[in-house]
């Protein structure tokens, strides 16, 4: 009898590890898929995925010919976010332009606007917003309010001296949207890459028939899972670091936290994603099923992670579910590390859930592979 009977062997593990690394890195296509798209997406999304409103068109129906309405129109015309202003002669035209989607907002300046202001009263404007684009509409409205507030401040300055309120935004003084979005994107893209690599790995071997070959060998299920986790962990971590580097050096986003704590968080984050990916792979019979599974898990995970909408705004039951998503915790860590120098204890509070998710998902993946033998 040979000594192959032990349930854990470094020799067997090493052989599988080498096989996994080659399987991922030898294939020029998979090499491309792993590194090129996430980095490209980071660049594209960083410019495209912005909540700032720019290049909007407005419609103005100016019934007043006084000084203040002229002032208002001038300021609108020179505002950075406005690309074009349609001047119309009747209020039904305002509605038509909004209906046709040509403008996002229509402004009607009443005939007595300037007179009211000069008389010391607050001037009334009617603003019509396209509710179909509620988010951009709201932001446009905010910009318009700011312009009007500016004008009234000027009026009051001419008449009296009142100090206006000064707002200061902490951590991101200029409210640079990219500062907020790029660290989050790096988390999301690393999440998807790691999920893809691992969810395909067992399914690919099943399709090739090599998985049966592995299962008839003395290697244990735990060894199979470990050997599949490690290369994906290395690649995912590397990718995460590359994107953090791009954020710091390319986008010049101030990094105020601890690099080493972030590195530990990335490793645990990727490990938990690897576990989820292997779970998907263990129950899929084909690569097609695995890809569908990865998307079925991945897309809702991103939506619920707090990237687009704050977790606190969700119903309680979904908030609880969001805690099981590795991305939820990692986003807190990565955004915190960039902008507000998250304290070690805050990081720890988000790191232990990652560890729990990793342990649970990797255990389940092992069990799923074993159960397929039944």
């Amino acid at each position: 009898m040979t000594k192959q009977s032990s349930s854990f062997s470094i020799v067997r593990l090493r052989a599988q590890f080498i096989k996994e690394v080659f399987s991922v890195l030898r294939d020029p296509r998979s090499r491309m898929v792993i590194f090129a798209p996430p980095l490209l997406q980071l660049l594209i999304f960083a410019f495209a995925a912005t909540l700032e409103v720019s290049n909007v068109e407005l419609a103005v129906y100016n019934q007043d010919s006084g000084r203040w309405s002229q002032e208002l129109v001038m300021r609108l015309d020179h505002a950075d976010f406005v690309s074009n202003i349609h001047y119309v002669g009747k209020s039904s035209d305002l509605q038509r332009l909004i209906n046709e989607g040509k403008v996002i907002a229509g402004i009607q300046v009443p005939i007595d606007f300037s007179r009211q202001i000069t008389a010391g009263a607050s001037g009334q404007l009617q603003v019509l917003i396209d509710g179909r684009r509620s988010n951009s509409g709201q932001i446009t409205f905010g910009y318009l309010s700011a312009i009007v507030a500016d004008i009234s401040a000027e009026v009051q300055a001419e008449q009296s001296q009142i100090t206006p309120v000064v707002v200061r935004h902490w951590f991101n003084p200029n409210l640079n949207y990219r500062w907020f979005i790029v660290p989050g994107l790096s988390g999301i893209l690393a999440f998807f890459s790691a999920l893809m690599i691992t969810s395909l790995s067992i399914a690919r071997e099943r399709e090739l028939g090599t998985f049966d070959q592995l299962l008839v060998s003395p290697t244990s299920t735990a060894e199979i899972i470990i050997s599949k986790s490690l290369p994906a962990l290395a690649i995912g971590t590397l990718l995460g670091l590359l994107m953090i580097a791009a954020a710091v050096f390319l986008f010049q986003i101030p990094f105020s936290g601890s690099f080493w704590l972030l590195l530990i968080s990335i490793v645990l984050f990727i490990l938990s994603v690897v576990g989820i990916g292997l779970m998907i792979s263990a129950i899929s019979s084909t690569q097609q099923q695995a890809i569908l599974g990865a998307f079925a898990i991945g897309v809702p995970a991103v939506l619920m992670s707090g990237f687009a909408t704050p977790v606190e705004n969700m119903p309680m039951i979904l908030q609880a579910l969001a805690q099981a998503i590795p991305l939820t915790h990692f986003l807190v860590i990565v955004q915190g590390s960039f902008l507000k120098a998250l304290t070690p204890s805050d990081i720890l509070a988000n790191v232990w859930p990652l560890l729990v998710i990793a342990v649970v998902s990797l255990t389940l993946a092992t069990l799923f592979v074993r159960r397929r033998l039944e």
């Binding site: 192959q4 009977s5 090493r14 049966d212 299962l215 008839v216």
Partner: protein, 582 residues
């Protein structure tokens, strides 16, 4: 018009994909009212030719006409006059038999309501009448093929093209397909049947034999077979020593090819060679020698220059297997249920050390479920399986180290080089350091893999791919080797070489468990277990199984005859039991 009975004309057709030449300057004709076989191993160009004839592919050079229409210029007309059944027929698995037939009728632009008679006729012809409401996905392999045939026949084509219709179809259903095709050619239809099985080609009226994209023979199969008259012999009753005798026979300079047939050894002499050497050998081993009718497969091998020698360089290097017990594999009351479906029911047998043991059965008979339980890929619902005395359920790791496994599709890692594949296999079986290097060197020598070490397994010729897969399976010198349909789609020469190695391993005491669809491969086995409807219906030597199937109509049954006879007898007994029970 009477004189022109030609259905298909192929002239100088060439087709290449990237840098592989699928067809090279092929010219041939196919007649109406005949069954024409397109035969050859995988990769010979059969499917490419079929797809050119149906207008699905354009040739790079040359042209072809089907029923008078050019396949490129008259593409639309081709679809009207031909019926085509691809390898995996495009049945919609979520539709019933009837819905599939209606769909295909509508796709052909037919009014379904007007053709109730045609439907009834097709259902009668394919004997699918009782199953019209069954989902196509729930049909057996044979029934799927019959439904595919019914759909292909829908528009009464003049030329019917069947691409490997008998793959995955058991001998019983295959017989049904032959009957149907025979009836169609009698009506004057031109039927083209492509196949990798040369015993199927032998049953065609005329054969186009392809090898590596070239036409190596065209004509009635007898014409080719007759070249071997007076050159085929059988050494009868060689008995237990037959593997050693085969090795000796194959090593004779005057012999070009040989196989085992039950207790006998069959040999084909080289052209113009004398029988003396073979006669002397027969005298020495006290076997009677008898001239036998030649077979088409032998003729094909002869055409390609003869089979490989009889010595396995691999087996020579391996030590003899020593086991504590003489029983290498055993199972008791092995049962597997999936829900309320029983895939394997109460199967028990014992396999001796050094035995070649075959598992045969129609599709869905539970053959592969049983096989998977024996090698630990599936856990039995009840009963137990032992490999070299170790329970696969309790001591899985230890038991698995004692078996080698080679799957149907050569499970190799295409992204690793040949050397890395060998290293990987050695590694997962716990071989390391000097021992690993020594075993790998043995495999490289035994299988002559040296020139290929740095290439990818995907780029290897089929024969070498198979050698590599076998090398990976035997590297850890397992006393028991499991082979799951190891030679499907492989050309006959590669198959001969494979069996030379297997015979060599068996002589060293390695126990071989094998499943196969090739009936002549079952002849290599010491004993064959026949599974049908999840149960073991026969277990004996190939010769004894053949003897049990002797009837008045069939005094000298082949293995395939025996298979059909036993399966039908079991069905009959089942029916009687049910009637008696009611």
């Amino acid at each position: 018009m009477l004189a022109n009975n030609t259905a298909v004309v192929i002239e100088g057709v060439n087709k290449h994909f990237a840098n592989t030449k699928a067809l090279r300057n092929l010219s041939a004709t196919i007649q109406y009212g005949q069954l024409t076989g397109i035969a050859g191993p995988d990769g010979a160009g059969k499917t490419t030719l079929m797809r050119i004839l149906t207008g699905l592919l354009e040739p790079n050079a040359g042209h072809a006409t089907v029923a008078g229409f050019d396949v490129v210029n008259n593409n639309e007309a081709i679809h009207v006059v031909t019926g085509y059944m691809p390898q995996r027929f495009g049945l919609y698995e979520d539709l019933t038999v009837m819905e599939n037939m209606r769909l295909y009728a509508r796709l052909r632009g037919m009014n379904v309501a007007e053709h109730t008679e045609l439907f009834a006729e097709l259902l009668e012809f394919t004997r699918l009448g009782p199953f019209t409401e069954r989902l196509a996905g729930k049909l057996s392999g044979g029934m799927k093929q019959k439904l595919g045939l019914a759909c292909a026949l829908m528009a009464r084509p003049k030329v019917l093209l069947l691409d490997e219709p008998a793959v995955g179809v058991d001998p019983v259903s295959r017989q049904d397909l032959w009957r149907m095709v025979q009836a169609l050619t009698d009506e004057g239809m031109a039927v083209v049947w492509s196949t990798a099985y040369l015993d199927e080609a032998e049953r065609c009226d005329t054969v186009l034999l392809l090898n590596e994209g070239q036409l190596v023979f065209q004509g009635p199969p007898e014409e080719l077979t007759n070249r071997l008259v007076g050159r085929s012999f059988r050494l009868e009753n060689v008995g237990a020593e037959r593997r050693a005798v085969l090795a000796e026979v194959l090593n004779l300079p005057s012999v070009s090819d040989g196989v085992i047939q039950g207790a006998a050894v069959r040999a084909v002499l080289r052209k113009d060679a004398q029988v003396n050497e073979l006669q002397q050998l027969a005298n020495r081993v006290q076997a009677t020698i008898q001239e036998v009718p030649p077979r088409f497969e032998d003729a094909f091998i002869d055409l390609l220059g003869g089979g490989p020698g009889g010595t396995s360089a691999l087996a020579e290097r391996l030590p003899k297997v020593e086991l504590a017990s003489n029983i290498a594999v055993s199972c008791k009351h092995l049962t597997k249920r999936f829900g309320d479906f029983t895939a394997t029911n109460n199967v028990s047998f014992e396999v001796q050390k050094g035995e070649i043991f075959g598992l045969l059965g129609p599709n869905g008979a539970g053959k592969s479920t049983t096989f998977k339980m024996l090698c630990g890929l599936m856990k039995p619902t009840a009963g137990e399986a032992h490999v070299v005395g170790l329970d696969l359920r309790k001591a899985t790791g230890a038991a698995k180290g004692q078996l080698g496994y080679m799957a149907q599709k050569f499970s190799l890692y295409g992204l690793l080089s040949v050397k890395q594949n060998l290293e990987f296999s050695a590694g997962v079986y716990g071989l390391s350091g000097a021992k690993q290097r020594q075993r790998i060197a043995e495999m490289i020598k035994g299988f002559a893999l040296e020139p290929w070490l740095n290439s990818s397994p995907d780029s290897l010729p089929l024969g070498f791919k198979q050698r590599l897969a076998l090398a990976c399976a035997v590297m850890h010198q397992p006393p028991v080797l499991f082979l799951d349909e190891p030679t499907s789609g492989v050309d006959p020469i590669t198959r001969r070489e494979f069996w030379t190695h297997i015979n060599g391993l068996a002589r060293k005491g390695v126990t071989i468990m094998v499943t196969t669809h090739f009936m002549d491969e079952a002849e290599y086995c010491d004993r064959v277990a026949l599974l049908h409807r999840s149960e073991l219906i026969a277990l004996d030597t190939p010769d004894a199984l053949k003897r049990s199937a002797i009837t008045e109509q069939c005094p000298d049954p082949t293995m395939e005859d025996a298979f059909i006879y036993l399966v039908e007898a079991a069905d009959l007994a089942d029916d009687l039991k049910k009637q008696g029970g009611v």
